[in-house]
């Protein structure tokens, strides 16, 4: 199971970083999402992997799983979900406004950038 989880984190991270290095917003946002999935699994694994063990005290049970990483993962999931929604909205706004979804700024955009864009 360690191998499975570790390689899942690794593949997700690799895919996420590859997509993040693309030039257009959609692949970059996908890459960010993959990275957040990877980090969620990683956080989950940081409390040691155990199967079928309860996180809270019960009578007659010896092995427990660490409940804290689960709480951390929940927080991380909520935050990354919200952040992804925000970035999708801003990216959509930028795309609809300038009809161009490149992440980098081209020279003419940079020149136009100093003018007040309001």
């Amino acid at each position: 199971m360690e191998l499975l989880v570790a390689s899942a984190i690794g593949i997700l991270t690799a895919g996420g970083i590859y997509l993040m290095l693309r030039l257009r917003t959609f692949p970059v946002i996908l890459g960010i999402s993959l990275l957040t999935y990877a980090v969620n699994v990683f956080l989950f694994a940081s409390g040691r992997l155990s199967v079928g063990a309860p996180p809270i005290l019960r009578d007659g049970i010896e092995t427990y799983t660490d409940p804290l990483p689960q709480a951390l993962v929940l927080t991380a999931i909520v935050i990354s979900f919200g952040m992804t929604a925000v970035v999708v909205m801003i990216a959509l706004g930028a795309y609809l406004g300038s009809n161009d979804d490149h992440v980098d700024d081209t020279a003419d955009i940079q020149a136009a950038g100093s003018e007040d864009a309001t």
Partner: protein, 516 residues
Amino acid sequence: MTHWIIAPVILPALLAPFIVLAARYHIGIQRVFSVAGVLALIAIALGLAWQASDGTITLYQLGDWAAPFGIVLVADRLSTLMVLLTAVLALFVLLYAIGSEWDNRGRHFHALFQFQLMGIMGAFLTGDLFNLFVFFEVLLIASYGLMIHSGGNARLRAGVQYVLFNLLGSTLFLFALGAIYAEAGTLNMADLAQRVRLIDGTETVGVRLAAVLLLLVFAIKAAVLPLHFWLPSSYAEAPAPVAALFAIMTKVGAYAIIRVYTMVFSPDLDVTAGLHTTWLLPAALASLAIGMIGILAARHLDRLVAFAVIGSMGMVMVAISLFTPTSISAARYYTVHSTLAAAALFLIVDLVKTGRADLSLIAQPVIPGAALTSALFFAAAIAMAGLPPLSGFVGKLLVLDAAFTTTSAAWVWAIILISSLIAVVGFSRAGSVLFWKAKAMPVVEDPEQEEDVLPPATLSYVAVGGLLALLVAHTVFAGPATRYMTAISNQLFNPEPYIATVLDTPGKLSTPKEGY
């Protein structure tokens, strides 16, 4: 019970929804409540700073849960100073936003502003690493909204870059936290400080990795080279008051580095030995140099100021990475100076912008209110470049003095002095093009356009003047200020009272001391 510590977090957190829900369409009510909230924040921050000034460390256990299990807020000298600085900066930024009508150019400026304050205050006060992450996210998500306030294509595009870069930073932060938790089993800073010392010397890979990842995350926030790429375009495109408030956000990164790397991964710890001198110092020197060269190379005034921010952050980071008590207190002094000076400069950029077609550094006809604006620019540029008589000079002197006894003194002195010269040249070029060459330009042909342009409002000048007055006060009272900064670094380099306060204060679940 010391409930006051949570007040700087709670007050904006309650005020912001109130502004959104109850005063949505009434900009006047929003302004009144926002200013009143910030004034109350200043009063609270003054009280907290007074409480902490004699060295007492006060603790707030959320839900009365004891430290390693519950989340704690801790107010010591450093965090209360940063809280006070944030509150004071917020007041002047808010006054400027009201005076220049920036808050009325889009919805929800005041609500987002309060949420941003909540995040910054929380990040300064928390004693828990995961809680630090959460407050980072609070301040970031508010800053995304503020960054694209009043819209526009260039701003939205810069906003996308800013958000994506910070999302990557947050992901790295989570990786670092996961690694720390896997190694040490705790995320409370005081608890962590004790536990990393127990880690066996042969099994330090995970902790080293976590320490470096965490440093990377904070370096992204502090815009240290080579992680500074997000800063110039986002700060230049952000609305002026927002950019001025962002001046404190890079300092959150610097604060986190000081906090975590004095207490948890301190320089005497074998596990992370050499991290500061080998990696952080060269990066800080490089960002100082790049920032100052950027001042000279910038073709637009807003980019120039953004590079000045990178340069001054480089200076703060140089002082931090020397990691001696004197250098940390120099870093604190310079942080206060650099926050105020950068905010003043961003506001002045906006003053210059009224009446000019754009901010490119070529001569254009005289702007309305040029006399006062140019005087303010002159003062702020002197402060930022670190010339006497303003506090930039004192701060730079303190950093140089702190570096004098270290082994890397030659490098630090050379780069600080040469980069200061470059900054002086860059600022004087910008100032002379903006204000002096403008006199030589012919008056604009079409007079009807000239009538539309009004000089900036008095309140705007009051806000900028207030920031500069604070800089002057920071210079005049440099003696007491440096004594206080020395007290701060003494407290930082003796973290035992902090750790004892956090871990030994009784609360729920606090009794079983032996059974982790």
